[in-house]
Structures are given as structure tokens and as C-alpha cells.
């Protein structure tokens, strides 16, 4: 479980996050949604330590991550897997080397054991046999799946996904969403997905935190989100023609 308490963050007198608190349970898919500039990626970066919040705390199973030094954070970071918006695969390394990288750094496994783990992770994301390809040889969807394989290589307790569907076609987006949900349930990870993709919201949003102008505006599930009368949330959720039509039928 991850808990955030009263997170504030400013950049050059522009307050991006304004006192956000929430709890993200394990075994369910937690979504952070909001329009562009609402602060969702900044919140994610504060949670994983890429930004230091101005005030507030981030607790990983009651371990306060915020005041820790780089060295103290390493133990928690070994339990974190992250899928980046652009996949962030290492260009100079093959798919196998990318997935093996955290294993090389933090485990004493033999090469055969590491190869087995790579094969297992690739099989899990349906990319068997792609071990020797370089990231430049992969499609956008395949890169995301390799990103997921790398994120789960160390059996993470916490899985973060930053816009996992950006730049993907709707069909591939659903594949990625389902993969994230399956992994969350299978390994009981605390999964936090930052997205503004309404298919993801409706498909996998067990818990949804809606940010608006840097504030926590609403929280609930995908079943509840269609029945709210909060104008800002409805403006966001039903912005597309498709969702408006779906709501009319609903």
C-alpha cells in the first residue's frame, strides 16, 4: 500500500500540487487522471522520488520515503517497477539486456537464471523470442511491453505506469491495460497508472483519483465515475463525442 499525505510541489512560484492526500491499495489498479497540466505526472514523480515534494510525505507500506537519502531509498527502489511514457528502454542494449539490467545490478543470479527470468518476463508480455532485438527494431506497443517486462523483472511490490497508452492504437492500448491489470492481480502489486485515456479509466480503474488544477477533486471507482454530478469531472470524462454518446445511452 502507498499513502501520500498533503503533497505540495511548486516550480518557480507556480504551485503545481496543492495538498494532495490519498491511499493506493495493493492488488487493485489505481488510476490518477486529470487534464493536461493538472499535476498528475508531477505527483507520480514526487511519489517515485524523481521530484522532491516541498512538503508532505510518501509512505511505502508505512516507510516514509520522502526524508530518505539516496542510499536509504535504494531498498525501496528495488521494489519499484516503472513503465515510462516513452518506454525509456536503453537504446544501446538488446531487449534481453534491458530486462536483465536490474538483475545484473542487484542480484547474484547466474547467467542461466537471469536468462530464464528474462524468458519468463517476455513470455508474460507475449514477446517470446524477441530477446536479441534492439529497441529501434520494435513497434511502439512492443516497446511498452518490453518496458513492462523490465518493470516486473525484479518482482516489484509497486508498479508505476506513466501514460502507458500514449501513442498507441486503441486495440494495443487495451492489450497494455489488460496486461497491467493481470500483473497487478497476479503479483498483488500496488499499481498506480497516470492516464487521461478514458478507455483505461472505464476498463481497469478500480480506484480513480481525479486531479484538477493541482488539487484532489474526486476519488472513487470506474463504476461511480459515470454517475457523478461534479461539473469539472464530467467535463473531463465526457469530453469526447464517443463518451457523450455512451453517457446518453447509459
Amino acid at each position: 500500500m502507498i499513502e501520500i499525505r498533503d503533497i505540495n510541489k511548486s516550480f518557480d512560484n507556480n504551485q503545481v500540487l496543492k495538498g494532495i492526500s490519498s491511499k493506493f491499495e495493493s492488488g487493485v489498479t489505481n488510476l490518477i487522471i486529470g487534464g493536461s497540466g493538472s499535476g498528475k505526472t508531477t505527483l507520480l514523480k514526487c511519489m517515485v522520488g524523481l521530484h522532491q515534494p516541498d512538503s508532505g510525505s510518501v509512505l511505502y507500506d508505512d516507510r516514509d520515503f520522502t526524508p530518505m537519502t539516496f542510499e536509504e531509498r535504494i531498498e525501496i527502489r528495488k521494489e519499484i517497477g516503472m513503465l515510462f511514457q516513452g518506454s525509456a528502454l536503453f537504446d544501446s542494449q538488446t531487449v534481453e539486456e534491458n530486462i536483465m539490467f536490474p538483475l545484473n545490478m542487484f542480484t547474484d543470479q547466474s547467467l542461466a537464471e537471469k536468462r530464464d527470468r528474462v524468458d519468463f518476463c517476455l513470455e508474460r508480455v507475449n514477446l517470446q523470442g524477441k530477446n536479441k532485438l534492439f529497441p529501434a527494431e520494435l513497434s511502439g506497443g512492443m516497446k511498452k511491453r518490453v518496458g513492462i517486462a523490465r518493470a516486473i523483472a525484479m518482482n516489484p511490490k509497486y508498479l508505476f505506469c506513466d501514460e502507458p497508452n500514449s501513442g498507441l492504437d486503441p486495440k494495443t492500448s487495451i492489450v497494455i491495460d489488460e496486461l497491467i491489470k493481470e500483473i497487478t492481480e497476479e503479483y498483488n502489486t500496488t499499481t498506480i497508472v497516470v492516464t487521461h485515456d478514458m478507455n483505461s479509466v472505464m476498463g481497469i480503474g478500480d480506484y480513480i483519483l481525479f486531479l484538477y488544477e493541482g488539487k484532489k477533486f474526486w476519488e472513487g471507482s470506474n463504476k461511480e465515475i459515470a454517475h457523478t454530478d461534479i461539473e469539472e469531472l464530467n467535463d473531463f470524462v465526457f469530453a469526447s463525442r464517443f463518451m457523450k454518446a455512451a453517457k446518453a445511452k447509459f
Binding site: 517515485v48 522520488g49 524523481l50 539516496f70 531509498r73 535504494i74 531498498e75 527502489r77 528495488k78 519499484i80 516503472m82 515510462f84 511514457q85 516513452g86 525509456a88 528502454l89 536503453f90 537504446d91 539490467f101 536490474p102 545484473n104 545490478m105 542487484f106 508505476f160
Partner: protein, 244 residues
């Protein structure tokens, strides 16, 4: 580089020299970088050094046309100029262009494509993993390249001088062996060590803090080469002042 940048540069260096997570991985990376910086630059340094030595000999011969000055001076002036200044400084400036821009672009691209964030989230000390092998390669391989450059520059002087008839082989050989002070080699190697540090750490700093996209990466790369060259010349003056 203003004071804020210099402070950030020092803080980055502090992070670079943290204890490595796994020495074996760093050593593998070090060998890769040594191959790139050292072996990869050998051809360029060889060509430049040979021609500079040849041109130096011809110019010294041109300027010292006098019956009162023995031609052996051509060899000794070329030797001392090559060892003390041309080999370390020209090699370093050329390497700043070749290696510096590559280091800055590589790290800058990793920054804008979130690869550095990925390393940090995994719990890896990104400055250490990315920059330390490059700095160690720089401070070990640049002195080796400078030694080769000295040899080739003096050899180039011999070839250029004798082919043009500016100096006879015997006079040139006598010149380069007369009054040789081995301390000049020490000064040159100290310079090479300092330059090796500069041409790896400055571009790494420029790349590491890039924000934006392709345009900013290319700007950082240009800035890396410019700042490295100015730093090389400043360090050249300081080392020369201190050691000679």
C-alpha cells in the same frame, strides 16, 4: 560556466564518485569506454600529430634561416614544442570535439528520453554508472594518446624535414637528442591527465542536465565542446604556470 553551473558541476562530481553498486558492471562499462575513447581516437590523433610535427619542422626551419643558428635547433624546438604544448593541447582540443560532443549527446539523449529517470528509479546511481567509466577512461587513455602523439609528432617532423630538405636526418636526430629534459614529459602527462578529466566531465555535465528535446541536446553538445576547449586552455595555462 557561471557560479551556479560550477556548483552544480561539483555536486554532480560528488555523485559520480559514490561507491559503485556492482563493480563488475562498472568495469565492463569502463572497458567499453576505454575502447571508444582510446582505440577509437588513435587514428585521428596519429594523423593530426604526424602532420603537425611535419608542419612545425618546416615553419621552424623557415623562421630560423641564419648562419649563426645550427640546424640541430630545428629538432630540439620541435621536440620541446611537441612534448610540452602541441601534443597535449591540440590532442585534447581535437578529442574535446570528437569525444566531448559524443558524451554530451549520448547522456543528453538519455535524459530527454527518460532513460536516466529509469536508472534512478531502479535505484542505480545514474551519474556514477554513466559518467564514472567515462572519466576514468579519459584520465587513463588521454595520457596514452598524448604519448603516442608526442612520438608521432617528432617522427612527422623528421619525415617533413628530411623530405623537404629543410634539415638533414643527422641534424634532426642530433637536435632531438641534445639537452633533452625528461621533466617535460612529466609536465605533458600532468596536462594530459587534467585534459582527460575536463573533456569527459564537462560534456557529461552538459548532457546530464539537458531539458527539452533534440534542439536542446544539440545545443548542449555545442556548449560542451566550447566550454571544454576554453577549460582546456585555462587549465593549460594554470598547469604550465605551476609546473614550469
Amino acid at each position: 560556466m557561471n557560479f551556479t553551473n560550477f556548483g552544480r558541476y561539483l555536486l554532480l562530481l560528488k555523485a559520480v564518485f559514490r561507491r559503485p553498486e556492482k563493480l563488475k558492471i562498472y568495469i565492463r562499462e569502463l572497458v567499453k569506454q576505454m575502447n571508444y575513447i582510446g582505440v577509437g581516437s588513435l587514428g585521428l590523433i596519429s594523423i593530426i600529430s604526424t602532420f603537425i610535427g611535419a608542419v612545425m619542422t618546416l615553419q621552424i626551419a623557415f623562421q630560423l634561416v641564419s648562419d649563426f643558428i645550427p640546424k640541430t635547433i630545428i629538432g630540439s624546438v620541435n621536440r620541446d614544442s611537441s612534448i610540452l604544448e602541441l601534443s597535449p593541447t591540440i590532442s585534447a582540443i581535437v578529442l574535446a570535439g570528437k569525444i566531448g560532443s559524443a558524451i554530451s549527446s549520448e547522456i543528453g539523449t538519455m535524459r530527454v528520453t527518460e532513460q536516466i529517470d529509469a536508472l534512478e528509479i531502479m535505484g542505480i546511481n545514474a551519474p556514477g554508472y554513466l559518467i564514472l567509466p567515462k572519466i576514468i577512461s579519459g584520465i587513463t587513455m588521454v595520457p596514452l594518446l598524448v604519448i603516442i602523439s608526442m612520438f608521432l609528432s617528432i617522427t612527422g617532423g623528421y619525415i617533413g624535414g628530411t623530405l623537404s630538405g629543410a634539415v638533414s636526418p643527422a641534424e634532426y636526430m642530433q637536435g632531438i637528442t641534445t639537452d633533452f629534459n625528461p621533466y617535460t614529459i612529466v609536465v605533458a602527462l600532468v596536462k594530459a591527465f587534467v585534459f582527460g578529466f575536463v573533456i569527459t566531465s564537462v560534456p557529461a555535465y552538459e548532457g546530464f542536465y539537458v531539458k527539452g528535446g533534440a534542439v536542446e541536446v544539440s545545443q548542449a553538445s555545442t556548449r560542451a565542446v566550447v566550454v571544454s576547449c576554453i577549460s582546456i586552455l585555462a587549465c593549460d595555462y594554470i598547469v604550465t604556470q605551476l609546473l614550469l
